[in-house]
């Protein structure tokens, strides 16, 4: 039957969300029973309550302004972190001196607690720039690490071909390095995008720029509006997943047509 396969695909995709919504509903019910209807929304609200809170928020201009502002900060942080990480990966792979100089610093950035950076960057740059700077700092080591691995794993036979066939630097970059790095770039960007969201929103929660998704999350915590907290968290997760899907689709288009 022509409709059987698409229907099967839809059902397979719906299975996990429906299952976890069911689990959520079940535990919300248990909490509701244990507190006997007195304030279960403070502990674990029902999915329907969160949905209502989300719909209510979506009717306000501030909701969309917060989403747009956070999206811009996170994407800018991702782009900056990816650009710097790529540049440093190229430098540390090409030059032993650059490797000795930069690699320890990048490892320190990777290991240091995000909260420390957030508090320091508030002092250095002012609150509105903190989420972008923090997102970039979290993305940079991931991109650097992945691309460094990729550059070192580039097929030496293809590099030798480039030398023997007198490829210019530009040709070596575009014809050998970049296509070889594709899986590493995809991995770096998808992991980096997730980190950029988490760290960017965490920075917003701590430094409260306006408008911002993180500021809204802070306000819900402050006012004990737990269904709203769930709603804003769901928005953050949804935006992160959409960004990741867009990145994957872009990378798939790049690969399309290799005949493999």
């Amino acid at each position: 039957m022509g409709w059987a396969n698409p229907l099967k695909n839809v059902l397979q995709k719906l299975l996990a969300p429906v299952f976890w919504l069911g689990v959520w509903q079940f535990f919300a019910f248990l909490v509701d029973q244990s507190v006997q209807g007195k304030g279960n929304e403070l502990l674990l609200p029902y999915p329907a309550t969160v949905w209502s809170a989300l719909v209510e928020q979506a009717g306000q201009a501030l909701f969309w302004q917060s989403i747009l502002a956070t999206l811009l900060r996170v994407v800018l942080g991702l782009v900056l972190g990816a650009a710097l990480g790529s540049l440093l990966a190229a430098l540390t792979c090409l030059s032993t001196w650059c490797d000795r100089l930069f690699s320890p610093a990048i490892r320190v950035i990777r290991a240091a607690p995000v909260a420390s950076f957030i508090l320091l960057v508030i002092l250095w740059t002012g609150r509105n720039n903190v989420p972008t700077v923090i997102a970039a700092m979290m993305v940079l080591p991931v991109v650097w690490d992945n691309l460094s691995q990729g550059i070192r794993a580039t097929d030496p036979k293809l590099l030798e071909l480039g030398r023997a066939y007198r490829f210019s630097r530009k040709k070596r970059l575009t014809l050998i390095y970049l296509p070889s790095l594709r899986p590493y770039i995809l991995s770096a960007l998808t992991t980096g995008a997730g980190l950029a969201w988490k760290s960017g929103v965490a920075a917003e929660v701590l430094c409260l720029p306006r408008p911002a998704l993180g500021t809204q999350i802070y306000n819900t915590k402050y006012m004990l509006e737990i269904p709203e907290l769930f709603a804003w968290t769901a928005v953050t997760v949804a935006l992160s997943l959409v960004l990741e899907a867009l990145l994957r689709r872009t990378m798939a288009r790049w690969r399309k047509g290799w005949g493999t």
């Binding site: 036979k157 293809l158 030398r163 023997a164 066939y165 014809l175 296509p179 005949g259």
Partner: protein, 194 residues
């Protein structure tokens, strides 16, 4: 022309070349035959500038004037057959790509990717890409490995009209008998028997 004089090269204890010299005619197909591991590929790699001899000199042709067909195809998996050629051809000669594909009997495969080609077709595409390079000496390391003999003989016949000399490594007697000159080698260390 004299390609090299008094070349010596060792890998650790293994002496691959010792006081090796080679002169060839200015045109035509010069076939090198010899047992596996005797040093033929190393010689081609030295002439292409990819290995550096410990002694001796390259004479009339510099490595920059050679074009080497590697023993393995080394096609770029993400480039079509036509792109493999335009990648090495200067833009002013891009219109030669179809002729080169025709020469190796791959007409109509312009938009095919290496993964979609058979082993023999990939070998022929690698050969076409090597021939696309401007060079004064072509170094072909087993160019017809995996290519059926009648087709290999047809292509070899076309290569006889090539402007620059072609130094070709092969083990196939029918191909060797069609070369303009056959040099029998042995080693290591590499030396010419006849």
């Amino acid at each position: 022309m004299t390609l090299c004089e008094h070349l010596s090269l060792s890998f650790g204890e293994k002496v691959v070349l010792e006081d090796f010299s080679l002169s060839i005619p200015d045109r035509g197909i010069i076939a090198l035959q010899g047992p596996s591991g005797c040093g033929k590929t190393t010689l081609l790699r030295i002439l292409a500038g990819l290995e550096h001899p410990q002694a001796g000199t390259l004479r009339d042709i510099s490595p920059q004037q050679t074009a080497l067909l590697f023993q393995d195809d080394r096609l770029l998996p993400w480039r079509t057959a036509r792109q493999q050629l335009t990648d090495v051809l200067p833009r002013s000669r891009w219109d030669e790509a179809p002729k080169l594909l025709e020469l190796v009997e791959l007409s109509g495969e312009d938009h095919t990717y290496p993964a979609q080609l058979s082993g023999g077709m990939g070998r022929r595409l690698a050969l076409a890409r090597c021939l696309a390079l401007e060079a004064k000496l072509y170094l072909l390391d087993e160019p017809f490995a995996g290519v059926d003999l009648p087709r290999a003989l047809r292509i070899l016949e076309r290569l006889k009209a090539w402007e620059a000399p072609i130094l070709l490594v092969s083990h196939e007697p029918d191909l060797l008998s069609n070369a303009d000159l056959v040099l029998s080698l042995d080693g290591p260390p590499l030396h010419v028997i006849s």
